[in-house]
Symmetry: C2
């Protein structure tokens, strides 16, 4: 039997569909959405208005949340103007980290994550969060100072989620210490970066419940996809090798994991979902791959809504279909089947001991 | 515009169906269920085993929760063995009060409600409660000491629910200061008892969000029901008078209200739901009227399950149908329509101000 505290259990049940598969939507983008709006409105990033970001998030949440088992939003632009748009049967994930990263006191290629000022996990729970999401940038070969900072940050959130008995969903995003992530050289490094990061943060001291992971290879550099639109013109691996990488990732992940979209086009993302779930992923938490093209129509809200109702909804439907064979979270070896999930402290004195 | 804090809003949205109607199930009975099990098992009440109460609650919750928009359970026998039986899209209400009442320091006809020892609203929220339910016995002509005790208890729970931003559902149950509630004399008193209690606890200082009320008349003593099985052989009012009483209750309730079943038979309860929702009730929170006959089959779990799958499910379906014309909570004059529900502190600094 595998014990799980009842608050975390209830939260995870709500995040997934009735069969235990995560089909979650992310609309917690801040820096990247402000930049996208700056581009479309021909403005400097600093001149983008709060109201425009909040309004665009409201439109996207209203149109797409009904397709999701859970919606991840942020407490700054998202929650206050979008909470009423999340249907009763769609769970609420709230982001904990400040958007982006800083490099203060470390090399400018390294990335430190930080909390949103004045925003706590207690507050998120009061606001109705069913789970907490933390994005941590991570490169296992960064300096000791950077590693320690990121590890301590994750551990803090793990402790707070345990205290409030909320599921902790940790998103790990790798980056290049040299050069760019958009290169065949980085594509070659990526499998090891993703898998080594998973090895670190599945350690029990971090108290993570679900990992939100990058696809552990870059299909733009996969030789078998040379006839696809997303192929970048150079190969780092074959499809068979990519499948093997996914298997190795699943072997490393002692926790249920879902795949993120990192803003790739929908065609590539659907392929990611197929390959990841084939290897054992329990679903996805996807944002821009589904809705990013809506931004270009802003501030024409009719055009935004048309895109969301048509193309974005089709994208979501296709992503959900691709996740139909995902491994239910309770069938991960961490739990070993629904019948083996056991509520911690289950007894006549639970109400006192909990 | 009518402000509501976002945690309470999110909770209320989850308690109701997509159209704002409450079709909620109660399985938080403790004293009455232990007594029912004692009767069927031919035991003293004190000899009924914890495990039997918990097991029966698990069976009922598993079979019937899928019909409900929300399930009300208790943290002693209910939650630890039933939480995994509540579907992801069915909200969770947790009871705060100790079962029953005491009369220490007041007349033995008067009733004082008390909390469950070592059980807090913070704990309920951590366990995933979407709302808190408090049952308070109330007779507006009780002694000053009793009135003050009950009022202070309700106010305490209102303050705690505000602090944790959880919806506060207050159940008011009247009782007889002399004689029995099963009498035409009490039936005549009941309309005033229910309405006067509503007038007390809708005062803003109690911070109640939803009232769970007794039907404000007793259909067993209603002349127009002389040909019904539940008719008790004496009349306190006509049906037209009962309808007027329901209207007066709705006029008194400055908050959305739902009807409780108090263990009446299903035929009478369905009539209650029809009349209450016609007058403006927003639905029901019903326990025994739907499932009470399951108890008699215990410990034959197959027979319990057959009854739950057949008759109890039919009861629930009929109750849901009777509530189809309930007034959506957001159409109560407290809110004035979904378009007028406004999130408190909605602004760019919500995450700091909340």
């Amino acid at each position: 039997m595998n014990d799980i505290s009842s608050g975390k259990l209830r939260g995870i049940v709500k995040l997934a569909d009735a069969k235990g598969r995560f089909k979650m939507m992310a609309i917690d983008q801040r820096g990247s959405m402000v930049q996208a709006l700056a581009d479309v409105l021909n403005k400097e990033k600093a001149d983008v208005q709060y109201e425009d970001v909040a309004a665009l998030k409201t439109l996207i949440t209203r149109a797409l949340a009904p397709n999701a088992t859970a919606v991840l939003t942020d407490p700054i632009y998202g929650y206050p103007y979008s909470i009423a748009e999340i249907p009763r049967d769609v769970a609420l994930l709230l982001a904990y980290e400040e958007s982006g990263y800083v490099s203060e006191g470390v090399s400018e290629n390294e990335r430190l994550s930080n909390p949103i000022e004045n925003w706590t996990i207690a507050t998120a729970q009061r606001a109705g969060a069913d789970a907490i999401k933390l994005l941590a940038y991570y490169h296992p070969d960064a300096s000791e100072a950077t590693l320690r900072h990121q590890q301590a940050f994750v551990q803090h959130v793990g402790d707070e989620c345990e205290k409030h008995d909320l599921p902790f969903l940790l998103e790990l995003v790798s980056y290049a210490l040299e050069g760019t992530t958009k290169s065949v050289a980085f594509a070659r490094q990526k499998p090891a970066l993703v898998i080594r990061s998973v090895e670190e943060f599945t350690a029990p001291r971090y108290k993570v419940d679900i990992l939100k992971l990058e696809f552990p290879a870059d299909l733009k550099y996969t030789s078998d996809y040379q006839n696809r639109r997303f192929y970048a013109g150079d190969s780092a691996y074959t499809l068979a090798e990519v499948k093997d990488i996914c298997q190795r990732l699943d072997a490393a992940s002692t926790l249920p994991w879902v795949i993120l979209s990192a803003g790739v086009d929908i065609e590539e993302f659907i392929e990611n979902v197929h390959l990841a779930t084939e290897a054992g992923a329990s679903g996805f938490l996807c944002g821009r791959a589904i809705w990013k093209d809506a931004v270009q129509y802003y501030p024409d809200t009719d055009a935004v809504n048309r895109f969301l109702a048509d193309e974005a909804t089709t994208n979501f439907t296709n992503a959900n279909a691709a996740a139909e064979n995902a491994r239910p979270w309770f069938d991960h070896r961490q739990f070993g089947g629904a019948e083996n999930v056991q509520i911690a402290k289950q007894s006549a004195t639970w109400y006192r001991d909990y």
